[in-house]
């Protein structure tokens, strides 16, 4: 019984230990440190955004150059080694469109 009472008294005293609690105070340089932190953060953000912008533009230039190189190499593969003469071009066109193929009419006349 005595032990129980003693425990209850200890509990009660501990529960009351925060009574008469005085608030703590910040030091006088709190605002100075806060504004320095804010300024520092803004500078870092600016630097970050500049770095990001620079990195992005450099990446865009590299991609642009890479695409140019690829398209140039592909174009060079298509171009024949020697330029065709005018006669060759005419013959090629004639062959492709069969413009002077008279065999059909000849066959018709013979019948």
């Amino acid at each position: 019984m005595n032990t129980q009472n003693k425990t209850d008294r200890e509990v009660e005293k501990t529960m009351q230990s925060l009574d008469g609690f005085q608030p703590a105070k910040t030091d006088p340089f709190f605002y100075s440190r806060l504004s320095a932190k804010l300024e520092n953060r803004e500078e870092t953000e600016l630097e970050g955004s500049f770095n990001y912008g620079f990195a992005f533009s450099m990446a865009a230039v590299v991609v642009f150059l890479f695409l140019n190189v690829i398209s140039l190499s592909m174009y060079q593969n298509i171009i024949p080694d020697e330029p065709a003469t005018e006669q060759e071009i005419v013959e090629e066109l004639t062959y492709e469109y069969q413009a002077l193929d008279l065999s059909y009419y000849q066959t018709f006349e013979e019948e």
């Binding site: 209850d8 200890e10 509990v11 925060l18 005085q22 608030p23 910040t26 605002y31 440190r33």
Partner: protein, 209 residues
């Protein structure tokens, strides 16, 4: 009656000043921000210290609170008072740091490794620190009480700390926690009951030892 009129005038004057301060803050007025910090820095610092019980962490978190206020003052809709809104940010930020520390503690191996490279004094800072506002004769008991408060659920801990340590009224605690008044009353009642149970167990065990 005359006194009452004077009081009403004073209240209106205060409201006007607060609205003007908020407007100036939203316009990015640095002097207004300085005034806000000076008006609320002790309140914010004490709230953070009440949860974190470490002066360095409390100062860092207090600064984070004001940085968030600076960043999001345009989102402040005056549904709560400026003071309540700032309290809310302070509580949220403090709890975030506590949760972060708990997560860190789960990685015991890395924690042990970290302590090899850190100053051992920093490790025991939280354990040995006692709030400067506590009376000298109550320091040992307050230390025990704070340790038991940490074992409460998060909501009970917030409600009890705001009411008992910060000295807020039940209504103010309800506003900060965005809970009904009855819910806060119930939380604080259960917190007290749990603390009494825990302390009883603690003293019974210590007596046996």
């Amino acid at each position: 009656m005359q006194f009452r009129n004077v009081d009403i005038k004073r209240v209106n004057q205060k409201d006007i000043e607060k609205t003007s301060l908020i407007e100036r803050l939203q316009d990015g007025d640095e002097a207004a921000f300085k005034q806000l910090v000076n008006d609320h820095k002790d309140q914010v610092y004490n709230t953070c210290l009440g949860f974190l019980r470490n002066p360095h962490d409390a100062e860092d978190v207090s600064q984070e609170v004001f940085i968030q206020v600076y960043d999001s003052i345009n989102d402040f809709r005056e549904e709560a008072t400026l003071s309540t809104w700032i309290y809310r940010i302070a509580v949220t930020k403090s709890l975030e740091l506590i949760r972060y520390r708990k997560r860190q503690k789960r990685f015991g191996f890395f924690q042990a490794l970290n302590s090899l490279f850190n100053n051992p004094d920093e490790q025991s800072d939280e354990e040995s620190y006692m709030h400067p506002g506590i009376k000298l004769e109550n320091k040992e008991r307050a230390k025990i009480l704070f340790r038991e408060i940490d074992k409460l659920t998060e909501k009970q801990k917030v409600a009890f700390t705001l009411q008992k340590v910060e000295g807020l009224s039940y209504q103010e605690v309800a506003d900060v926690m965005e809970q009904s008044l009855s819910a806060v009353e119930s939380l604080i009642h259960r917190a007290k009951e749990n603390l009494i149970k825990q302390l009883r167990t603690y003293y019974e065990q210590n007596e046996m030892d």
